[in-house]
């Protein structure tokens, strides 16, 4: 598990200059304790969106143009899950050697929507089932000489404690 305040995975002379940055701007908060996806809620009809709506609402019966920035639920239930046994093509930046990862689609109760994400590093399909409660964490997506690029991932609730 990495977060913004943690040491890089391999502390070395580079450590002083390596920084953690989001892999995409504005999609999630980088609060070390309680990271959250940043979505939107339509001020006219209440429809949520992720990524955040900018100028129009997905509801065909709504012409709203104002959107409140909201943090989405940090916990949800697995709607379905899979993994990536073969290296995805670019623009995915794969580690060398490649390490397979799990992907989950998570149902958020309040927002009544399903959001995808990788499962946290080390979580495999054997750790998952439909309905598993998961929590949002930040984790490294890829790294270069200067940066760890962070992305949101989902981790089974209590998994950290079990390890």
């Amino acid at each position: 598990m990495s977060n913004l305040d943690a040491d890089p995975p391999e502390a070395s002379s580079e450590a002083a200059t390596r920084t953690a940055v989001p892999a995409v701007e504005g999609w999630f908060s980088t609060d070390a304790e309680r990271p959250a996806l940043l979505g939107s809620r339509c001020s006219s009809c209440g429809t949520y969106a992720f990524p955040a709506a900018q100028s129009f609402c997905a509801n065909p019966r709504c012409q709203g143009t104002e959107f409140e920035a909201v943090e989405l639920s940090r916990r949800g239930k697995v709607w379905s899950y899979t993994d990536a046994r073969y290296t995805p093509p670019p623009p995915y930046v794969a580690a060398d050697p490649y390490v397979p990862f799990a992907i989950v689609a998570v149902e958020l109760e309040a927002e009544k929507m399903v959001v995808m994400g990788q499962a946290a590093s080390g979580v495999t399909v054997a750790d998952l089932s439909v309905g598993t409660e998961v929590e949002l964490v930040l984790d490294t997506l890829y790294a270069d000489d200067e940066h760890d690029y962070l992305v949101w991932k989902w981790q089974p609730v209590g998994a950290e404690a079990r390890r």
Partner: protein
């Protein structure tokens, strides 16, 4: 305007699917010439050429209608090109049908062809941080099989589908495709072979995921009146309806290439799922129901997805597809053979050609020309297809 919304299918043609490594234009021209010969017409007879676009072959692919028209030789025909992801071929059919039904032309040629790279489909090049298709690869490593696998796992969880069920879909389609000269994969496989193939996206294995292929398909369509004049008889096969509807909000199923579904927070009530809505629209337009269907060509992007389609096209209720398969209902010789062509399982996907190829198979089946894979006495065929960005299609073919 006449109430008769049928158009005649005068000709069908294909370039065999494979990994030939040549220009998509070559496959398209080959398929077009086959379809024209089948229709007993020549290229200058065509008044409207409707191309289905490919996005991986540069500018000529974006204006496929003109590319094929130039390759066949400019004749002054009206031209249009359609892009609708996996439904591009059906979109091109829909455009040709509309021109014919509006009385703007009598004879139209529909062509789609593709040359594909090996391996996973990747987004088109360049760093495009505002394109969800680029972002899903970059931020999630989510390939197309990722989404197919999410649906497959859902099916296992909701209905108790098993690895063996999925493998048996592949086994069935390999038997069907073995006799099809246009199919790329013609070896019959066993469930053991399927289950021994490498896992790609749990629970889907390599032999359960559709490959990417080169291929081309074409149709010659005409007005009913032209068909009667041309052949001196009622046309043997007609397209009775075409559906190219969008999903309805809120779409609760995660679809390629999205990061999330719609939110249902602000609306109440059940909304019909996208896949069933595509096919319901074609049945309604044709005034024909699933009980009338003799065969179906459905988009088996994965073996598991074919089972979803059984329910979506109305062959059985939710959760009953595994039994339908096990009872042999969807195999050749069964009540409603599904993918008698062998499906994507035997073809691999040549995107803009694929929805056209589904209709070609329906035409050959209804004419009784599907040697080695014939559905005896077939009179009604339905096709179904879904791609990304909210595109899908269904075509109803009758004799």
């Amino acid at each position: 305007m006449s109430d008769d919304k049928r158009v005649a299918v005068l000709g069908a043609g294909m370039h065999p699917w494979g990994k030939w490594g040549r220009s998509f234009v070559e496959y398209g021209v080959h398929a077009a010439r086959e379809a024209l010969a089948d229709a007993d017409l020549s290229w200058p007879d065509v008044q409207f050429v409707s191309g289905a676009d490919t996005i991986r072959n540069g500018y000529p692919g974006f204006i496929a209608g003109a590319t094929f028209a130039q390759a066949l030789g400019w004749t002054g025909a009206k031209v249009a090109s359609s892009y609708a992801a996996c439904a591009s071929g059906a979109s091109a059919i829909a455009n040709a049908r509309a021109q014919i039904l509006a009385g703007l032309c009598d004879v139209a040629l529909v062509v789609g062809a593709d040359t594909t790279p090996k391996g996973f489909f990747a987004p088109v090049g360049g760093e495009r941080r505002d394109d969800p298709d680029w972002l899903r690869f970059h931020l999630l490593g989510a390939t197309n099989p990722t989404y197919f696998a999410l649906y497959a796992r859902r099916r296992m969880d909701r209905f108790g589908a098993t690895d063996e069920d999925f493998a048996q879909v592949k086994v069935k389609n390999s038997r069907h495709g073995a006799a099809n000269p246009n199919a790329r994969y013609r070896d019959v496989v066993t469930a053991e072979q399927v289950l021994a193939s490498p896992m790609v996206a749990d629970p889907l294995r390599l032999l359960e995921i559709c490959a990417t292929s080169d291929g081309g398909a074409a149709l010659v369509l005409s007005s009913m009146e032209f068909a009667r004049r041309h052949a001196g008889a009622e046309p043997a096969v007609t397209i009775a309806a075409v559906s190219t509807v969008t999903p309805r909000f809120p779409n609760r199923v995660i679809e390629m290439p999205n990061f999330s579904t719609d939110s249902a927070a602000a609306v109440t009530g059940d909304i019909e799922g996208f896949r069933p809505s595509i096919v319901r629209a074609v049945y309604e337009e044709a005034g024909i129901g699933p009980d009338d269907v003799d065969l179906a060509e459905v988009y088996d992007l994965s073996a598991a997805l074919e089972l979803d389609w059984y329910e979506d096209i109305g062959l059985c209720g939710e959760g009953e597809a595994e039994k339908l398969l096990a009872d042999g209902v969807t195999s050749l010789g069964g009540r409603v053979p599904v993918n008698p062509s062998g499906g994507l399982s035997s073809f691999g996907e040549a995107i803009p050609a694929q929805a056209i190829a589904q209709v070609c198979e329906a035409v050959w089946q209804l004419r009784g020309q599907a040697a080695g894979r014939q559905v005896e006495g077939a009179r009604v065929a339905v096709t179904a297809n879904q791609g990304l960005f909210g595109h899908g299609s269904s075509v109803l073919v009758t004799r």
